[in-house]
Homo-oligomer: 131 residues x 2
């Protein structure tokens, strides 16, 4: 796998219709996967969740994750990304969540559960593309 | 999680625009996720791959997998499925692969690598829905 995202797939990372399917491994060793909002800044993927959810329990610092991001214009074209959780930071003002709202919805609204919102930064270790 | 798929989500399993994001755990303990074709028959999910690929190495009998299937008409509506590989069977005539071609493309074409095609049957153990 190349260590950098092929240029042709860079655009996909800022496409506001593109969701990531984020896979993690639970403590019992079984996989979990859900679609999530994400952003890509300075070579890092950031996602968010709320404390108490499965992802918040599995995505500790150092945990390995995988993401699959499909081109909204071509279901057979996708980017696969592997990485490690670099850090987990609370989002007490909901600022990061608002960034994602803006990206995906084009506007922000009150983040009611900001006291439990958490930001995960993923350091990509490998990419693989198809299509 | 309910043990049965909620009726409102049954239709999603036969929607020919719906792909599954299939997550597995590799031998080194890290997750892997890719979009795949699937079918749902007699309460089981079936997917296929070719020998030699990452999924063929990780999805041994008894291995746990997770799938996420998003409604093509609503990105915020999805079905999450967890399960276990019930069996792994060769597809030497490409018959199952042709079934998937028919479902997703509306026609079949020659399965050139049928000698390495494999069918995985997943026994669902839990479902979770959103939206």
């Amino acid at each position: 796998m190349p260590a950098e995202i092929p240029a042709a797939f860079q655009k996909l990372l800022s496409d506001n219709r593109a969701f990531a399917h984020l896979a993690t491994v639970k403590k019992d060793g079984s996989p979990q996967v859900t679609p999530v909002w994400f952003d890509y800044t300075d070579g890092k993927i950031r996602v968010n969740t709320a404390k108490g959810r499965v992802k918040a329990r599995t995505m500790q610092q150092g945990a390995r994750v995988a993401l699959s991001i499909v081109d909204p214009d071509n279901a057979y074209r996708y980017l696969q990304l592997r990485g490690e959780i670099e850090n987990v930071v609370p989002d007490p003002t909901g600022a990061f969540y608002s960034t994602l709202q803006q990206r995906y919805r084009g506007h922000t609204s009150e983040v009611k559960d900001k006291d439990v919102r958490v930001v995960f930064t993923v350091r990509p270790t490998a990419f693989k593309v198809r299509g």
